[in-house]
């Protein structure tokens, strides 16, 4: 019999919903309040909830810290890479309109979508990384030492 059965069952049910809600907020950013920052925090919250209920080790097994580091890196690369892509199509850095010169608005739409994906990745990974960093800290003195 493991402790906190209710918490475990309910969070198992909730975590996928939280993750899906993150993506809803991400893409709803087109029409209303929302976007990469909020979505990234919500996505990270699903991982943090998992870690709180099932323990840090289980969370680290599900989402290894090395992946988190790669996620942070990818987020920056997706954002910056969008700017590099606008260079390749002949615009200024981050001038999304250059993607579709006939309809600059379409290009701007595409560019913002790509940049927001980068923000999502970076924010979610950094939130999880901060949680892992604080959660993994060993206390200076063990209880026996007192």
């Amino acid at each position: 019999m493991t402790p906190h059965v209710i918490l475990r069952v309910v969070s198992k049910f909730l975590i996928p919903l939280i993750a899906i809600f993150a993506f809803y907020v991400q893409f709803h950013g087109d029409f209303g309040p929302g976007g990469g920052f909020q979505a990234g925090v919500i996505l990270a919250a699903s991982v943090i909830l998992y870690a709180l209920i099932f323990g840090l080790d289980a969370a680290k097994k599900a989402l290894p810290p090395s992946w988190v580091r790669i996620g942070m890196m990818l987020g920056v690369i997706v954002y910056g890479g969008t700017g590099v892509a606008t260079w390749l199509v002949g615009g200024n850095f981050l001038e999304y309109g250059a993607f579709t010169p006939e309809h600059p608005d379409h290009g701007i739409h595409l560019g913002i979508l790509a940049v927001e994906v980068g923000v999502l990745l970076a924010v979610a990974s950094v939130m999880v990384a901060i949680f892992y960093a604080f959660g993994s800290r060993q206390p200076d003195l063990t209880d026996e030492d007192w």
Binding site: M73, G80, G81, V84, N92, F93
Partner: protein, 508 residues
């Protein structure tokens, strides 16, 4: 002109953005690279590209004109614009060149001073720091300055703390620097907030125009000016705000000390110049009062106090750190004169001092690398044990004192001339006194190195053990450069004069 025409035109038009984006993005990739050697090669390539690009931009401004780069194609004042002009191009080139030399030096040095696991992240933090410094210097948007100030500062705190595997005191030094640096950045951003309140814009050129129309603005912009000067003063180690500097320089890895000493405080000083003369204007009463009385006074105190403190240090790196505070004083004195000659002399000293101090700190890093020496008492016999490294150190030291035919002499001579032209004979005396104090603290190290015999261990004289070539090359390059500037300073003086013209001309 021939060299410039061999550049692809894309590199020149987009150079301003490329200089920041390249190290920033590659820095992110470097952080996950598995092997340190790979990270080093990537860093070397990136810094090399930056040097080439910055040289192109420098030549373009020299032969053609200042340029404005619109981020995302948005027109200023609404969009963020990057400025390339006579004021910042010499500094951009300086930062890129120092980054390249540090990277070359870093291969043996970082391997000796940083834990293996942390070496790839070390290079990542370094690249991001370079991007931050270049961003501070290039951007024409006041809030963007704050963002890049934080980018460069945070990576610098990390870099200083990486010295912990060599010297645990690096952690305390980094923490000190973190607290004071954050206070500085906070003051700066509070100042920007007040400026925004007064003018409703964040574009530096736009703020400048609006403030000139308002003839200096109300008390709000006066408060803003105070906050900005204090915030930047913390970053550039202006006299009573320098407490973070000796610790950070003394305990960081040698690589980081060199890079910090030759670029970080210089970039902050550049920002101070830009804010005083182009965002604000010396024609406002409160600006000229602060510049003439506060900056000059603090500069003179820093020259004397920093040099005196340097004399009483036992640790060689702390000696040079206090000497850096004194040298910032020289630059502030140049700024305080607020004349074309004074500004040019201050800017010239900024460039020369970066070259000189980098050579000196490179040499100190090599002493530690071979013999683990940091205390001046242990310098005994270094002239015999490491003749080439000590040779470069000697040239750098003479240049720091201001012996004729060295870079230090050129800039001090210019400063004295500017002071006399302004009618400040007392300032010339302060410069001479501070230089005499420099003779004492540099002389102490040189005396120990050349006039004392190498120590004996178990009855045997310690053997000669020269620094590796990768360390000697950047060191000697800078040492010879400081002599070359002393013999013929036309190029550097012209660059400094160009920068002063931009400042006095006002506007962007």
């Amino acid at each position: 002109m021939d060299l410039l025409s061999s550049y692809p035109s894309w590199l020149i038009t987009h150079g301003a953005a490329l200089l920041i984006i390249l190290p920033l993005l590659v820095g992110a990739i470097t952080s996950v690279l598995p092997r340190e050697r790979l990270a080093w090669i990537v860093t070397l390539i990136v810094t090399l590209i930056c040097v080439v690009t910055s040289l192109g931009v420098l030549l373009d401004v020299y032969f053609n004109d200042a340029q404005l780069y619109k981020m995302g194609g948005w027109d200023p004042p609404h969009g963020i614009s990057y400025i390339i002009d006579g004021l910042n191009t010499p500094l951009i080139f300086l930062i890129c060149a120092m980054a390249l030399l540090c990277t070359i030096y870093g291969l043996p040095s970082v391997a000796a001073e940083v834990e293996p696991k942390k070496r790839a992240p070390f290079y990542a933090a370094f690249l991001i720091g370079v991007a931050g410094l270049l961003g501070m210097v290039v951007t024409g948007d006041a809030f963007n300055v704050f963002v890049f100030l934080e980018v460069s500062s945070i990576s610098t705190y990390v870099l200083v703390a990486m010295g912990a595997s060599r010297d645990r005191r690096a952690l305390k030094a980094a923490y000190n620097y973190l607290i004071l640096g954050s206070i500085g950045a906070t003051f700066f951003v509070i100042g920007l907030g007040f400026l925004y309140m007064e003018t409703g814009t964040l574009n530096m050129a736009d703020i400048g125009n609006i403030l000139r129309d308002l003839d200096g603005g109300s008390r709000v912009s006066l408060v803003a000016f105070g906050f900005i000067v204090v915030g930047l003063g913390l970053k550039l180690a202006m006299f009573p705000l320098h407490m973070w500097l000796p610790g950070a320089y003394a305990h960081a890895p040698s690589f980081v000390t060199v890079f910090l000493a030759s670029t970080a405080t210089k970039a902050a000083l550049y920002l101070l110049l830009r804010f005083i003369f182009m965002v604000f204007d010396p024609s406002f009463e409160y600006v000229i009062t602060v510049v003439t009385y506060v900056l000059t006074a603090l500069g003179c105190i820093a020259m004397l106090f920093g040099s005196l403190q340097a004399i009483f240090q036992t640790d060689a790196r702390r000696t040079l750190a206090f000497s850096s505070i004194a040298q910032v004083g020289y630059m502030l004195l140049g700024v305080g004169m607020a004349t074309g000659l004074g500004l040019a002399a201050g800017y010239l000293h900024l460039l020369n001092h970066a070259v000189i101090k980098a050579a000196l700190f490179f040499a100190l890093g090599a002493f530690w690398y071979r013999y683990g020496i940091t205390r001046i008492d242990d310098f005994a016999g270094l002239g015999k044990m490491m003749p080439w490294t000590m040779g470069a150190f000697t040239l750098g030291g003479l240049s720091l004192i201001g012996v004729p035919f060295t870079a230090g002499f050129t800039s001090k001579l210019n400063l004295v001339e500017a002071a006399l032209q302004r009618g400040w004979a007392w300032a010339a005396i302060v410069i001479v006194v501070a230089s005499i104090l420099a003779i004492i603290y540099i002389g102490r190290m040189l005396m120990a190195a050349y006039f004392q015999s190498p120590p004996e261990i178990d009855g045997e004289v310690v053997a000669k053990n020269e620094a590796p070539l990768m360390m000697l090359i950047p060191m000697w390059l800078l040492a010879l450069l400081s002599i070359a500037i002393g013999v013929n300073a036309d190029l550097v003086v012209e660059a400094a004069q160009g920068a002063a013209d931009v400042l006095i001309g006002g506007g962007v």
